[in-house]
């Protein structure tokens, strides 16, 4: 075969081939580049042939990986050469070397256009190829009409027209406006009547691009696509050259079925029937044969047909047929088909309801975990992960654990993360969960991220029943000869907290526990030592009566580390040393860690974040949300150590208040950015000097915890922490998609709805969500009004209620589509179980066009909705007041930083909160007495009495006394009122002039932010 050989080029290539090493190659390349540069400088003597040769050399050098930063002009100038060979080189090299924004391209635009509109078909082809490969916006604007003309011209050869189709596709991607929808949709439909399969294939690609943006305009193409499929399936009028291994153009079949997947449904029954006939024929008529290429081609068509069947939501029968086929595929010899079988099963799992049929193949899928091909092993892992539920979690997780020891290193991290997530999501009981995680750490400690062991600590802390078991397990692992450092951390932590629960068992005396842990100290890194020191301090505290010898030993360790170079270790050593001298005081400070606020696992979140934003994948998310995690349900919500003890509240409160004051600034920051972003209240953990903060920090990622949970059960939901609610009010999942701006201030709307029973909760250009509520005793009936403001439907509408533990909420079915200009009413039943200030959140999302909007909205099912004002007389008030004597039923607190307001305004505020002010009860006119009845399922109707003593000289402080017959209620009500007195819940009161918004990373990572984290707070106290 002849080739367009150039001696100089060939010689250069063989020189390069003869280079012994990279250095020689570089020298040869530099020499050549120098030569080309000199020759280009003096263009006079340069023949077109030489120019062409040099430009090819440049492309070759570029491919070898050397930057060619000159000669672009020469390449571009060849485009306007009159003769074909030079022109061709110009076009090819330009489209490989330059990017679409290169200035030189602009210079060529006219030449390119002349070639496109000229009569020379070969020039047209070259020009269309260049534009199709690197054309940018400018090309789109100036060339689109010409390209369209070529595509629909009847006098052009197919060779030109198919290039024009793909060229237009590129221009459309660069600027969608160049294709006029009204004018083009008919043309597009006509193009699908094309007989030439080359032109048809390119046109189909163009159609896929067009319908993926706007299927509405191209409905008329749908029946034509089905016709094309019929033509191919029946092998009618398919020329020999388009039959590939006996299959009529598999690419065109695949592309056509792809295009059909962009139409939401097929309404016309005849078209639907014809299509299903074709699909049925494909599903039934494909067999695995010997010829690999034929196999690939026929299965390309088959897998696309499967995808289309799934999309069309065929009848259950056809679906089971598909699963049966896939089940066959995952066991065949052909690795490509095994791979795609697993992948499509995973896809099928997400979009349809065939999990039970898929579960029948569990054994085969588990076998695929041992496939020689890592690509297939990964697919098997994904599938197992996706198909796991309560019924098969034990089997699957145990398989994964077993596989972990033999798995490739490349997969171990993913494996352990997935095993940990499944164990958490579907644990039949928590002790099993603890077993799984400890085994994970034992088998693959290097691949177990900190999140995983933080999470197990969190569960153990929050579940008293689990503590002795976990402590025992931790103790057992410590006996193993060589354990991973993560195991040292987790067992030291657990034993520090709970080893006293084992005290009577053999080998579990404080001294023995201390010895077995201390043995590990020489082997661990500096990040583990602080944990060990805390454990020692705790062991010491639990050793009653004190063991002098142990005490001496531990003190010696503390004093050894008092001069440690690591600041964290040093500080702990010094502090523990000093504290342990104090005897009884140690008990308070080193008391058991309080319960962690309940929040979504950061692991689950990580897993969700990792999933990209495709329709299928959001289906996983949805499923994950709908499957309630049994592990979380098991978690007890009661305060850890009985009712909160007042002495602990004092120091904890202070940073919280500073946080409250600071929050408007933070809130402003969020809004000032314009985009809906969440300001992460966590200090970056790397910069945090506090190790306990590090330990607990990642756990707290999901939500800012207002104060230590012990003193503040309101953060139990972990979703919203009062003061920071504004920042979180909208927490888009996919921020990049969420460019829809809400109308009005979401926080302001929420606060308004807290005080009244109907109004707008949320509004943006597409939707308005209104609320109407009716509250009776501890019941509430809320109606959500979802109004579509547009002339197009809102689709994929999803509303999910994330209720806090104290509310039972049931939302009636929310339709998936809201028709144009329609309003849908969705009743929501609420039952208040017990007093709490936790907030319910509505996780709401919908799709409009290409916008995916997801907002998380706080629902105004707040504490005061369950209050009913009651007026009491002096005769009723005082006996009650006296009978409720002191904590925990009667709590008193001096509140500072109160928003100054006259007494009358305060009385109004109280009345609006359903606290009835009873004038005349208190002789002092600077004081205020109010009463109300609180309703919940547990407390029933409960009278609450409130007394506020203000100081006329200083309106920023007051003393507040709250009494009721229930300690939790008293506490919650006190905090609730306090929030309204200090914070400024209505942002319409312009906040003080704001400093210019700082970028979030510039914010100090100092106490106010750190104080949001209960762990950091407590650590601060230690």
């Amino acid at each position: 075969m002849a080739l367009s050989g150039m001696r100089g080029l060939s010689v250069f290539i063989s020189d390069i081939r003869n280079c012994q090493n990279k250095e020689q190659e570089r020298l040869r390349v530099d020499k050549e580049l120098g030569k080309i540069r000199t020759r280009f400088k003096n263009e006079k003597g340069l023949t077109p042939y030489e120019k062409k040769k040099y430009v090819w050399k440049m492309l070759y050098i570029y491919m070898l990986g050397y930057d060619v930063d000159f000669g672009h002009m020469e390449a571009v100038s060849l485009i306007s050469a009159p003769k074909y060979p030079e022109k061709q080189v110009g076009y090819i090299v330009t489209s490989s070397l330059l990017n679409e924004n290169h200035d030189f391209l602009r210079l060529a635009i006219n030449t390119v256009r002349n070639d496109i509109i000229g009569r020379n078909e070969t020039f047209q082809c070259l020009a269309l190829t260049l534009v199709g490969n690197i054309g940018g916006r400018e090309f789109a604007e100036s060339l689109a009409p010409d390209v369209q003309k070529l595509l629909i011209s009847s006098s052009c050869r197919p060779l030109v027209r198919k290039k024009a189709a793909l060229c237009l596709l590129r221009l459309y991607r660069k600027n969608p406006d160049v294709v006029n929808v009204d004018g083009w949709s008919d043309r597009m439909a006509q193009l699908l009547d094309e007989r030439d399969l080359g032109v048809l294939t390119s046109s189909m690609s163009l159609l896929v691009a067009l319908v993926s943006n706007n299927h509405e305009a191209y409905w008329s193409c749908l029946p034509k696509c089905v016709k094309i499929l019929e033509r191919l399936a029946r092998n009618q009028d398919v020329p020999q050259e388009y039959t590939y291994y006996g299959i009529p153009s598999p690419w065109l079949q695949v592309k056509t079925m792809r295009a059909l997947q962009y139409f939401p449904t097929i309404e016309d029954p005849n078209t639907r029937r014809s299509l299903f006939e074709v699909l049925q024929r494909i599903l039934m008529g494909t067999d695995v044969v010997k010829n690999v290429n034929k196999n690939n081609a026929s299965h390309a068509v088959l897998f696309e047909a499967l995808a289309l069947v799934m999309h069309l939501d065929a009848e259950k029968e056809m679906m089971s047929q598909c699963v049966a086929l896939l089940g066959k595929f995952i066991a065949v010899r052909e690795p490509n088909i095994r791979y795609l079988g697993l992948e499509n099963m995973t896809r099928m799992l997400m979009v349809t309801d065939v999990q039970d049929i898929i579960k029948r193949h569990q054994a085969q899928i588990i076998t695929s975990l041992k496939d020689p091909d890592i690509s297939i092993r990964r697919r098997a892992l994904d599938l197992l992960y996706g198909m796991c539920d309560v019924s098969n979690a034990k089997d699957i997780v145990e398989e994964l654990l077993q596989y972990l020891s033999s798995a490739d290193f490349a997969m171990r991290e993913e494996l352990s993360l997935k095993a940990a997530i499944l164990a958490e999501k579907f644990a039949p009981d928590l002790s099993w969960y603890v077993d799984v995680i400890l085994q994970l750490i034992d088998k693959a400690g290097d691949f177990v991220s900190d999140d995983i062991w933080f999470r197990v600590v969190q569960f153990v802390t929050n579940n008293e029943d689990l503590q002795p078991y976990a402590a025992l397990k931790a103790r057992e692992y410590l006996d193993k000869p060589a354990i991973h450092e993560t195991m040292v951390k987790v067992s030291a932590y657990i034993l520090g907290e709970y080893s006293h629960l084992l005290a009577r068992r053999p080998g579990c005396s404080p001294k023995e526990i201390f010895n077995v842990i201390h043995e590990k100290l020489p082997t661990v890194s500096t990040s583990t030592i602080p944990i060990l020191l805390s454990t020692y301090a705790k062991i010491l505290m639990h050793t009653q009566p004190p063991d002098q010898e142990l005490q001496k030993q531990i003190w010696a360790i503390f004093s050894k580390y008092e001069s440690c170079i690591d600041a964290e270790i040093q500080q702990r050593a010094v502090e523990y040393q000093a504290l342990s001298m104090k005897g009884a005081a140690l008990m308070d400070v080193l008391a058991e860690m309080p319960k962690f606020p309940e929040r979504q696992s950061s692991l689950l979140r990580k897993a969700e974040d990792a999933e990209a934003d495709t329709a299928e994948q959001s289906a996983i998310k949805l499923r994950a949300q709908q499957q309630t995690s049994s592990a979380l349900v098991l978690t007890d919500q009661r305060p850890a150590n009985g009712s909160p003890s007042v002495s602990q509240l004092g120091p904890v409160k202070v940073p919280n208040m500073s946080n409250v004051n600071q929050s408007p600034a933070e809130q402003e920051l969020t809004h000032a950015n314009g985009a809906l972003t969440v300001v992460d209240p966590q200090p970056p953990s790397t910069s945090s000097p506090d190790l306990l903060g590090d330990l607990l920090g990642p756990l707290a990622i999901e939500g800012p915890a207002g104060t230590a949970p012990q003193s503040d059960p309101r953060v139990a939901s972990g979703l919203e922490g009062g003061a920071n609610g504004e920042a979180l009010a909208i927490a888009p999942i996919e921020e990049q998609n969420n460019t829809v701006q809400p109308i009005g201030d979401i926080a302001e709307r929420f606060h308004a709805l807290c005080l009244k029973d109907s109004g707008v909760l949320y509004e943006d250009p597409y939707i308005q969500i209104g609320i109407k509520a009716d509250w009776r005793a501890h019941h509430g009936r809320v109606v959500l009004f979802l109004g579509n403001k547009n002339t197009a439907p809102l689709i994929s509408v999803q509303a999910l209620i994330l209720p806090p533990a104290h509310l039972k909420m049931e939302l009636s079915l929310v339709p998936e589509t809201i028709p144009p200009r329609a309003q849908v009413q969705c009743p929501l039943e609420v039952i208040n179980l017990q007093p709490s200030r936790d907030l319910a959140v509505l996780d709401f999302s919908y799709k409009f066009g290409t916008h995916v909007v997801n907002v998380k909205l706080r629902l105004p099912a707040v504490l005061n909705k369950f209050l009913q004002p009651i007026s009491v007389s002096a005769e009723e008030f005082f006996p009650q007041w006296r009978s409720l004597s002191g904590p925990p039923l009667k709590l008193q607190e001096v509140v500072r930083g109160v928003r100054p307001m006259p007494l009358a305004e305060m009385a109004n505020l109280f009345n609006s909160l359903q606290l009835m002010v009873c004038p005349g009860l208190d002789p002092n006119t600077n004081n205020l007495v109010a009463s109300t009845t609180f309703y919940s399922e547990r407390t029933r109707a409960m009278l609450c009495l409130i007394r506020i003593e203000t100081d006329p000289a200083d309106r920023t402080q007051l003393r507040m006394t709250i009494a009721s017959g229930d300690p939790t209620l008293t506490f919650e009500l006190k905090e609730f009122i306090k929030e309204h007195l200090i914070s400024i819940p209505i942002p319409s009161r312009a906040p003080a002039p704001m400093p210019a918004p700082m970028p979030p990373q510039a914010r100090p990572t100092s106490p106010p932010t750190a104080s949001l984290d209960p762990g950091a707070l407590l650590a601060g106290l230690l």
């Binding site: 075969m1 002849a2 080739l3 367009s4 050989g5 150039m6 001696r7 060939s10 290539i13 063989s14 081939r17 042939y49 492309l59 070759y60 491919m63 070898l64 990986g65 930057d67 060619v68 074909y84 060979p85 061709q88 080189v89 090819i92 990017n99 070969t122 082809c125 190829t129 199709g132 490969n133 290039k163 793909l166 596709l169 590129r170 080359g198 294939t201 390119s202 690609s205 896929v208 388009y242 590939y244 690419w251 065109l252 695949v254 792809r258 690939n296 081609a297 390309a300 897998f303 696309e304 690795p335 490509n336 095994r338 791979y339 020689p372 091909d373 890592i374 297939i376 990964r378 990209a612």
Partner: protein, 163 residues
């Protein structure tokens, strides 16, 4: 869309590099190296698919095939059908085979310009342009004729031609 086409030999030396989304030269080299590393570790008789999210972003995968000393690699996103990509690669290779009658690595090394021309008749702007190898051959032959007619002064190179 198809993001790129790479031909490299079993030493990792690139023989043809074409990206349909511009990549700076350093990035290209880095990608080629990473892909080579992945391909080297693949055993025989495994699937032709590898997910390369870490190199190209979510949902990007590659298919590859080995022919004698050469790896052929197509990189593409989830708007393409994996097996159809493998078929297209086969068309590409069959066409090269027809052009060079039993193509070998040297043909591709010394005629990389020709290979570019052939590829441009099969893929345009990351989309499948032509799937019929005989149609591609027709177009390439036409181009060769044009080149010869405009290039009468070019000496023939015995030894490299007609391989």
């Amino acid at each position: 869309m198809i993001r790129g086409v790479i031909i490299m030999n079993d030493q990792g030396k690139p023989r043809l590099v074409k990206f349909y989304e511009f990549q700076p030269v350093e990035k290209q080299q880095e990608l080629i190296r990473s892909i080579y590393k992945i391909l080297c570790s693949r055993a025989d008789n495994v699937s032709n698919f590898v997910k390369v999210d870490s190199l190209f972003g979510p949902d990007v995968r590659l298919v590859y095939k080995t022919f004698a000393t050469l790896y052929f690699v197509f990189i593409f996103d989830n708007s393409e059908n994996e097996l159809a990509m493998l078929d297209l690669m086969q068309v590409f290779v069959e066409t090269l085979d027809k052009c060079f009658s039993n193509v070998c690595e040297l043909d591709i090394v010394f005629n990389f310009n020709k290979v570019h021309t052939i590829l441009d008749e099969i893929i345009l702007g990351g989309q499948v342009l032509e799937t019929s190898s005989s149609e591609v051959m027709k177009a390439v032959d036409e181009i060769s004729k044009l080149e010869r007619s405009g290039n009468s002064i070019i000496p023939s190179i015995p030894g490299w031609q007609g391989r």
